[in-house]
Symmetry: C2
Subunit: 326 residues, 2 copies
């Protein structure tokens, strides 16, 4: 098959059903990211930009494209402590940042909570992906505080999964927090999240990373199989196979509903607030934005602390006291 824009052989059929050669695909991909940033007002010049990086293809691609478009860009990585997985991806990321002269800051669960994810999941009754997501978000919130924007590598497939997951859950508020930019209304201590790869599929991200020669492993997190997300990922993937375009339509339809949904949810929250004063905006433990009195991350830590109420403080609870109680 030939490229639709020149006579070279096509290397990919894009999500928009265009057959493109390497050069034209890279051009088209970067243009789509630029257009997403512009149309959704994700980033501006002179902003201090942090990019949440895992060393995987999506966040590395986001880091690369954003670092070429903006001056003040810093990669932030978190070492959750997942044996046999994270150290490899972090090594790749360090090398990538050094090659492309991008600042990199690495934080770890071990330093933040005194224990690795592998150690924590053995002691809480929650799916590993949920614990990891909650704690990673807290660490990111804390260290992104000095930046104007936090870029994440979420792609169209991720967003389609999040939309469907949250459509099938009881909490409509979580659904209203999705979209290419979240947290724009300034909450103290919360850096707005932006997703420049919002309209790029996972396949396109992978193709871009490979064609640009990025040294990225494609190994999967050992906890990935056990989550609700993985069930949804499989279901959406099956639907996409049978009805191509399903994921794109889901995201586009959702975007048309999002403004109305946010308005409705914010009206309901305000009503609730006036009625019962149940809506606390900041966690009373760590001071970060939270839907409840105690945020999900501190709840996990409190839960772990309770399990050690025999009097003996573990390394984990000691660090928790040090971090949260001073």
């Amino acid at each position: 098959m030939k490229c639709q824009r020149c006579s070279q052989p096509a290397v990919i059929i894009t999500a928009n059903r265009k057959a493109l050669c390497k050069v034209h695909f890279i051009q088209a991909f970067e243009k789509r990211v630029k257009d997403t940033i512009k149309r959704c007002k994700l980033l501006s010049v002179n902003e201090r930009i942090a990019v949440a990086c895992s060393g995987g293809k999506d966040s590395t691609v986001a880091l690369y494209v954003v670092s070429r478009l903006y001056k003040d860009v810093t990669a932030i990585a978190i070492d959750e402590g997942i044996r046999g997985y994270r150290s490899k991806t972090l090594k790749d990321l360090k090398q990538f940042c050094s090659e492309h002269r991008i600042k990199l800051k690495v934080f770890s669960f071990k330093e933040e909570y005194g224990a690795t994810l592998d150690q924590i999941v053995k002691r809480v009754r929650m799916p590993a992906c949920r614990v990891c997501g909650i704690l990673r978000r807290q660490v990111l919130n804390r260290h992104a505080a000095g930046f104007d924007r936090l870029v994440t590598g979420h792609n169209l497939d991720d967003e389609a999964q999040s939309i469907l997951m949250n459509l099938l859950k009881a909490n409509t508020e979580l659904l209203a927090r999705l979209g290419p930019i979240t947290g724009i209304k300034p909450w103290k201590g919360f850096t707005p999240r932006v997703k420049p790869l919002y309209l790029c599929t996972e396949k396109e991200d992978a193709a871009y990373a490979i064609l640009m020669g990025f040294n990225i492993g494609f190994n999967e997190c050992p906890y990935a199989g056990s989550s609700f997300r993985s069930t949804i990922r499989q279901a959406l993937s099956d639907l996409e196979d049978k009805h191509p375009g399903s994921k794109q339509y889901l995201v586009k339809n959702f975007l048309r509903m999002l403004p109305g949904l946010r308005k409705r949810v914010s009206m309901d929250i305000n009503k609730e607030k006036n009625k019962e004063d149940r809506c606390i905006a900041y966690c009373k433990e760590c001071g970060q934005p939270s839907a409840g009195r105690v945020c999900a991350a501190c709840s996990i830590i409190i839960n772990l602390r309770a399990k050690n109420s025999s009097g003996r403080d573990t390394a984990l609870t000691r660090v928790f006291y040090a971090v949260h109680k001073d």
Copy 2:
């Protein structure tokens, strides 16, 4: 397991996770239907009510409950002409209406279009379920014209499927047409559709029909396996098995988004209308409400007519001319 309201053995666990005996389930089911009618303002006394019936469990249950609550209720059935399937369900329906003294009107594709569905699907390149849905809707529109409301037997499972199906399609307008009541803004010749079983699951409908001793077959339409809906039905059923409550949450989340979505879609339609005058409200062939110049039903018939352009009119096209061109 015992009923949560008395000491009798429970016969069902409802969608709201309540174990109930026969008597209390029937009470709870009828209360939920009544509440849905009241809260969503589906029906009023002194209205002329038609109920679209297939002879299957859902529409029969809707017919029964509505006929007990309102005076002027007429069952409308359509014989699409599906060999080995429809005649049995229609026989059951006739017997049911006669037993419960409910007026019944039966219309058929054979009379309306001069051909059965079995004959039509052999000559159009469209999935049978799509052709059937479009033509059945046209016949229903035509014959429900003298009524104030048209009740359908759509249950929570049906609605969850429709929501997900339309979320995965390009046309956001179709999504905005869902909900417990549609077509309330009076369109000439369009009777608003209402769904009293909107918050009852398929399992609950079946349980009610069985416990009430209704003589209903549970055989499936021979065309059912081939549709997009059946793919979605399977996907949702798998998700519900793994994450109970998924379908309910999908419908509830959608209901919170629906008002905003309808506003947005209607704004977009008006913008389009002013810009290009492309938005025609009535089909130029049959005069029924339509999103395009020619409605989907007339497009099918025109398509069939074109296939017979050799000069020889078939019974089907003769009837089409008779119905649509006078």
